[in-house]
């Protein structure tokens, strides 16, 4: 069995390396390479090579194709000392990137040479005022607020759950919010979908939400996807790079699609669902905890799972559930507290009761288990219909 050192030596022999001085020369050339920083976020926040793209090592393989489709582009990949970047360079080579070098000595050596370093911008006086209540909390503070401003959250649905979740995430200063929704604002939405308003009737929900959120907080960039999430567009949308997904979908096929994609892309999902007076909230952290299929391996038949359009929902219930989703998303982004990972919170607004049940990883899970049997997108509508007929999955 090879030791770590043996492995590193072998990997380094299989990749190209570049020293700090040469890398800086390339950076100053007429066709500068892309610097790719594979360190963790805490390391990045303390400074990076100017113009570098940041993708933590653990997310490199799943995110790089979306962020860097051009495989012929010259890439200098770096970490703190040159080891993680060696492994990253090896992976990039295997993914077909043709012109990749690993920075020997990493960012430490770059800095030691006195080369230019960019540090994330500090908060403006306006931001200090806007986020002052966050800055006062030790768990958030300036570093946490900077982190939120650099964070990217994708919301599935701009409806009942997406409305409060997006409003609070935008108010909190989550810098980039993506919203996927194909619907337009309808009269029957306004009893609960508070990101929209009467004057927006007939307007695309993603555009209505964008207007509301950007008016609430100009720090936020809202990316709109006026489409239904499907097996065909999910890779393109996730390829834009997201730290957390907030799932407020209104149907089972989308729920299972979001789950499978999130497991394969290693993106945490904050799950919420609602019906009449009752809600469910949990957090799925791929590979660290259970996924949606561990919790609900099989969707119920239609008569057991009416939608809110069929069965109704108390207007404020999504306000409670969606706000909890926003709170969980902020905790995941900040890496603080105990999330609902491994716990399903059950809310009953009629009894005003909160219960929780435990959710465990299923070793036999077809997607995140030990021997996955589902490894690519399936026809999710067909999958849910088959389950509904009792055929099973």
């Amino acid at each position: 069995m090879a030791s770590y050192r043996d492995l590193l030596t072998r990997i380094k022999a299989e990749i190209d390396e570049i020293g700090a001085a040469d890398a800086r020369e390339r950076a100053a050339s007429s066709e500068p390479p892309l610097f790719l920083d594979v360190r963790e976020r805490e390391e990045w926040e303390e400074g990076f090579v100017p113009g570098a793209l940041h993708v933590p090592r653990g997310q490199l393989e799943s995110r790089i194709e979306g962020l860097l489709p051009d495989r012929s582009r010259e890439v200098v990949v770096y970490c703190a000392g040159g080891s993680r970047s060696a492994f990253a360079a090896k992976s990039l080579g295997e993914l077909g990137y043709e012109n990749v070098t690993s920075l020997t000595g990493g960012f430490t050596d770059w800095k030691r040479n006195g080369f230019d370093v960019e540090t994330p911008r500090t908060l403006s006086p306006q931001q200090r005022a806007r986020y002052s209540r966050h800055l006062l909390i030790p768990e958030v503070g300036e570093a946490g607020q900077q982190r939120l401003l650099a964070s990217r959250v994708l919301l599935i649905g701009a409806g009942g759950l997406g409305s409060p979740a997006s409003l609070y995430l935008a108010a909190a200063g989550v810098g980039t919010i993506g919203i996927v929704d194909a619907d337009v604002v309808d009269d029957s939405n306004l009893q609960r979908q508070i990101v929209h308003s009467t004057e927006r009737l007939g307007e695309a929900k993603v555009l209505s939400a964008k207007r509301t959120l950007e008016a609430l907080n100009p720090d936020v960039d809202v990316k709109t996807y006026e489409e239904r999430l499907t097996s065909e567009n999910v890779e393109r949308i996730l390829g834009d790079g997201w730290d957390v997904i907030v799932d407020g979908a209104d149907n089972f096929p989308t729920r299972y699609l979001v789950n499978d994609a999130s497991v394969w892309h290693d993106i945490p999902v904050v799950h919420g669902s609602i019906y009449r007076f009752e809600g469910q909230v949990t957090v799925f952290e791929p590979h660290a905890g259970p996924c949606y299929r561990c919790l609900f391996p099989t969707p119920p038949p239609p008569e057991l799972a009416p939608s809110c359009a069929e069965g109704g929902v108390l207007g404020v219930l999504p306000g409670i559930v969606g706000s909890l989703q926003a709170s969980e998303a902020l905790k995941v982004l900040l890496g603080i507290g105990e999330t609902l990972q491994g716990r399903l919170l059950l809310i009953d607004a009629l009894a005003t009761s909160f219960d929780e049940v435990s959710v465990k990883r299923d070793p036999a899970c077809p997607v995140c288990g030990e021997s996955p049997t589902i490894t690519e997108y399936v026809d999710y509508v067909e999958f849910c219909q088959a389950a509904g007929r009792g055929v099973g999955a």
Partner: protein
């Protein structure tokens, strides 16, 4: 007696109750007592005598599939029946 929490989608089958009491030594016994009194529940909970795959049953907050399934002995703790809900809009 074991308290069984009924999800909103199954309440019509038990006369609208949010919670009902049922008797039995294990989960199967409790659920069978329930379906004997509310026959419409049977097809929603059982599939060929086994727990239907789309219903989660929790005893004391633990999924009975991670315990002894329908043979899990009840111990005074409440049972929660829980199908997945998809609603979000």
């Amino acid at each position: 007696m074991t308290a069984v929490r009924i999800p909103p989608t199954l309440r019509a089958e038990v006369g609208g109750e949010r919670q009902v009491e049922a008797e039995g030594d294990d989960v199967r016994g409790v659920l069978e007592d329930l379906t004997a009194r509310f026959p419409a529940l049977a097809s929603q909970l059982f599939d060929d005598g086994e727990l239907a795959p789309f219903v989660n049953v929790y005893l004391g907050g633990e999924d009975v599939r991670t315990l002894d399934g329908l043979d899990t002995a009840v111990n005074g703790q409440a049972i929660i029946l829980l199908p997945a809900m998809a609603g979000g809009s």
